[in-house]
């Protein structure tokens, strides 16, 4: 396990949220490599580069300037090259209907941003662990839905 690095990307315009996110992973001591982008345009520029290392899990904030998380989600789902990326929506609270809609559009995970750091660590560790189970056990990704 120790040598199998999980690549993680977060796109979020809030600098504090990006910082909490990377700090949480540092403290979790899981073998992860975390990269962050501050909006959807930067993110898609990176992903669309042919040499890009694609992440195992991509965390998308819904409300971002220039290009929203929902727009990124639709672009990603329309491109076969990104089929293996697990997509986690990482957002402040939304209605059940909005949440369900992100799943319908192809998101695998929906995370309501936790209010404290301890909870954030727990949630992120749950995401990586569950994704790892799908990855190593050949489970059907089309039915991978997780709401935290």
């Amino acid at each position: 396990m120790a040598t199998d690095l999980t690549h993680i990307i977060l796109a979020d315009d809030d600098e504090d949220d990006r910082l909490f996110f990377t700090d949480a992973f540092e403290e979790l001591k899981m073998s992860t490599a975390v990269t962050t982008y501050k909006d959807g345009v930067y993110l898609m520029d990176y992903l669309n580069h042919p040499d890009a290392t694609l992440p195992h899990i991509l965390f998308l904030d819904l409300n971002m300037p220039r290009k929203s998380g929902m727009e990124c989600l639709k672009e990603i789902k329309a491109n076969k090259r990104f089929d293996h990326i697990a997509i986690a929506i990482y957002s402040t609270s939304a209605s059940d209907e909005d949440i369900e809609n992100t799943f319908v559009q192809g998101a695998n995970i929906y995370i309501k941003k936790p209010s404290d750091f301890g909870k954030l660590k727990k949630v992120l560790s749950n995401v990586v662990t569950t994704n790892w189970q799908y990855h190593t056990n050949g489970l059907n990704r089309d039915q991978f839905l997780l709401k935290l």
Partner: protein
């Protein structure tokens, strides 16, 4: 006559590893004590040769050993869940330890160490995945699934589904149906 010898295990073992790897012309990097990393993945044949060279020194790949047993645990669990003829009358812990010939404590620790999760959670995850599959592909009702997977009640299955995935079985069904609809329009 007696000579007194002082030696350093790390240097000895590292030298053995280096010699074997160079003999096989495998590109490698010794990362730390007991860990070698390969820039290119080893073919099964090369790995066998490497293991054969190391065998006289009683050096073996630890991870493989553990991973094989973990795979056996997983296979036994899947068999328990998917094969309806395997009537498991005893608790899964007893079933696993009898089938694999190790104490449950040992299996359980090893499993957690290698897979990031516990045997209990793995069983639940697999049952819920199977439930999803039965909902989508066979259109079974939750009552039928609960019976098939030997849950004590529908409520128990439903709660476990919600606890594991964060959504209810009916929401799951709705989302999958809408996704299909989106694809066909």
């Amino acid at each position: 006559m007696n000579l007194f010898i002082k030696f350093d295990f790390n240097t000895v073992c590292t030298t053995v590893l280096e010699q074997c790897l160079e003999q096989l012309e495998i590109a490698y990097k010794i990362v730390g004590f007991g860990e070698v990393s390969f820039p290119k993945p080893l073919s099964e044949a090369k790995k066998k040769e490497f293991l054969a060279l190391l065998a006289p020194y009683q050096i073996e790949i630890v991870e493989d050993h553990k991973r094989i047993l973990v795979q056996k645990i997983k296979d036994a669990i899947l068999e328990m869940i998917y094969d309806e003829d395997t009537e498991v009358q005893v608790k899964s812990s007893v079933y696993l330890s009898e089938k694999l010939g190790h104490s449950y404590g040992y299996l359980s620790n090893l499993f957690s160490e290698v897979t990031y999760t516990s045997i209990e959670n793995f069983i639940i995850l697999q049952k819920i995945e199977y439930t999803k599959q039965l909902i989508i592909q066979e259109n079974l009702s939750l009552t039928e699934i609960a019976y098939k997977l030997r849950y004590s009640s529908v409520a128990h299955l439903s709660t476990q589904f919600k606890n594991t995935t964060g959504i209810t079985p009916s929401a799951f069904q709705r989302i999958i149906a809408k996704r299909k609809q989106n694809l066909s329009t």
